[in-house]
């Protein structure tokens, strides 16, 4: 299969069915690459951040799944693990960081606080946003307070 094909020629030969096969398998290859090297953004806010660090440390190694390289800059990351409670003061920055990430991008909401506000949700709460998906769309939710590293690994595998 030729990989270095001109896109204009590709459109012209769409009827033959040839170019479709080439691009489908190229897309599949890229998706395999993306799934096996999801680079997370360091975004630990509260307690769940420590379980995220424990998941990337010696016992439960995230590097086995290709996700061990935690990037500092959102431009180089394609997975944002929101670990912890989202406070009202921090919310605009989360939106800014999510906008700066290049597509395709995914968000894992880790912990009860990032899902529904967690133990900090009550009727007079003035300081937190109850659930990160009021700000950014979350793809996978991992419950617990804090969730075990195995839970985070399950979440990562289901988003990969």
């Amino acid at each position: 299969m030729e990989m270095n094909v001109n896109p204009q020629q590709a459109a012209a030969h769409q009827k033959d069915g040839l170019m479709g096969v080439v691009f489908a398998s190229l897309e599949k290859l890229l998706n395999i690459g993306r799934a096996n090297s999801l680079w997370p953004l360091t975004f630990g806010l509260h307690c769940c951040a420590i379980e995220m660090m424990a998941a990337s440390a010696s016992r439960f190694d995230l590097d086995r799944f290709g996700a061990g390289v935690f990037r500092g800059s959102p431009r180089q990351a394609d997975l944002m693990i929101v670990a912890g409670t989202v406070s009202r003061k921090m919310a605009p920055r989360i939106k800014m960081l999510y906008d700066q990430m290049p597509a395709p991008k995914y968000v894992i909401a880790m912990g009860g606080c990032a899902m529904w506000g967690g133990p900090y949700q009550y009727d007079g709460q003035y300081a937190i946003i109850e659930g990160v998906d009021r700000i950014v769309p979350a793809d996978v939710h991992v419950p617990g307070c804090p969730p075990r590293p195995e839970g985070l690994i399950e979440g990562l595998l289901s988003s990969a």
């Binding site: 509260h46 424990a54 003061k89 921090m90 300081a127």
Partner: protein
């Protein structure tokens, strides 16, 4: 939070809440009218304008200095802490910390429920010292209602607290060395920490945030397997600490990176109210377990380690020595733990303490942690105030950063051992 106005204050701005907020949450009778999605969008625009005003201060053209924003999301700030660095070339003129990004309204939640319902929250304020903060809260309430604690429970509390101190210092060790540049000790220390977390899981069931303490004792007893495991853990930890000393403490690169950096003098530390290892590294031997002993700490033989230099290397050395002393206390406690009941069955579940003010402080790995409780005779507390060590320790960074370089900021922040929800509660 109360809306007090102080005369001649140099900068009376909002500290913990967003800059544009106009409400005072800790007043009684405060009711928060929630905002809709439109309001949220509008508030974000106001936030962004406020941000730009702060970080791009208009400077005249002939000035050389500039501001660098080490923003809330940064690999080395150990959480959401924002530092505004006022720089001249590569040298720092001033560090201005901006806090409030981790504020979760813990103290207001204490006023909503009764004393039992506040249990989960102290442990989440400083999640690396969950057991010790639990002891702080439970100790305050026990002082308020005047309840006896059994002897086995006292020994269990000491064992669990010292293990927690070890776990916290191991985590700090790994994170500090990762900031300074080396990745290996992070992996080694986390494996040791996992051993301790396994032991905690055997006694309480959770790995990070615990609810093990109850008024008058503990939730459940320590099993013999857990005690055996702790006894085997001590010699293993001692040999690991010797290895780490050879690997890290004598390493020339580490010493060049941390010696002479971020010097806190004794006067500066006392004026700012710094406690913990940062104070002990400046030469002042203050440890709550020795000066105001709580529990049965006065029955053990151990020393308070100090250093005289006050720099990052001194703080590092003091914390390593604290780990050795914790192992010493653990050994003594594990040999002397008596049989007996682990909690007091006469402890009440719902109670109304006498009206009054009560204070109890414990030595957390970061410094002195105290809980100040005002009770008005009802089932709900009137006010719970947490005196957290990192709030006072962080203030010193304004003066300490002067004349250091940009690369040293990370080293100073790591050696002060800041956990950001501890600052903001």
């Amino acid at each position: 939070m109360y809306g007090m106005k102080i005369d001649n204050h140099p900068k009376l701005d909002r500290l913990l809440l967003p800059e544009y907020s106009n409400f005072h949450p800790l007043r009684k009778g405060f009711k928060f009218e929630g905002d809709s999605v439109d309001d949220m969008n509008r508030t974000w625009e106001i936030e962004r304008e406020a941000d730009q005003k702060v970080s791009s201060t208009v400077l005249e053209h002939h000035r050389r200095d500039y501001f660098v924003n080490m923003g809330p999301q940064h690999p080395s700030t150990h959480g959401v802490l924002r530092l505004l660095l006022h720089m001249d070339g590569e040298t720092i003129l001033e560090i201005d910390p901006v806090i409030g990004y981790a504020h979760r309204a813990d103290e207001k939640m204490g006023e909503n429920g009764n004393y039992m319902q506040f249990y989960p929250y102290p442990s989440r304020v400083d999640y690396l010292a969950g057991m010790i903060y639990n002891w702080g809260y439970v100790g305050t309430v026990e002082r308020a209602i005047g309840i006896e604690i059994t002897e086995r429970a006292q020994y269990i509390r000491v064992i669990v607290s010292e293990l927690q101190r070890l776990a916290s210092h191991l985590m700090w060790y790994g994170a500090f060395l990762m900031d300074v540049g080396s990745f290996t000790p992070f992996l080694y220390c986390f494996q040791d920490r996992e051993e301790i977390l396994d032991m905690f899981e055997m006694c309480d069931g959770s790995r990070l945030t615990y609810n093990y303490f109850r008024f008058g004792g503990q939730e459940r007893d320590l099993s013999p397997e857990m005690l055996d495991r702790a006894r085997k853990f001590i010699p293993m930890m001692k040999s690991h600490l010797k290895d780490y000393e050879k690997l890290v403490q004598k390493n020339i690169i580490f010493r060049k990176r941390t010696e002479g950096v971020g010097v806190i003098t004794k006067d500066m530390a006392i004026q700012y109210g710094v406690t913990g290892a940062s104070l002990r590294a400046s030469g002042f031997a203050y440890d709550v377990r020795k000066s105001e002993p709580y529990g049965i700490y006065n029955q053990f033989e151990w020393d308070v380690p100090t250093a005289t230099t006050g720099d990052a290397y001194g703080r590092f050395a003091v914390r390593v020595q604290e780990m050795w002393q914790s192992l010493r206390i653990l050994e003594q406690a594990l040999t002397r733990i008596p049989e007996g009941p682990y909690n007091n069955p006469a402890a009440p579940k719902r109670f109304k303490p006498n009206p009054g003010e009560f204070y109890f402080c414990v030595e957390s790995p970061r410094g002195e942690m105290g809980i100040y409780l005002i009770s008005d005779g009802t089932e709900n507390p009137y006010r719970i105030k947490m005196r957290t060590p990192c709030y006072s320790n962080l203030q010193v960074i304004k003066d300490v950063g002067r004349k250091n370089f940009l690369a040293d900021v990370v080293c100073i922040l790591g050696s002060l051992d800041i956990v950001v929800p501890d600052v903001d509660r």
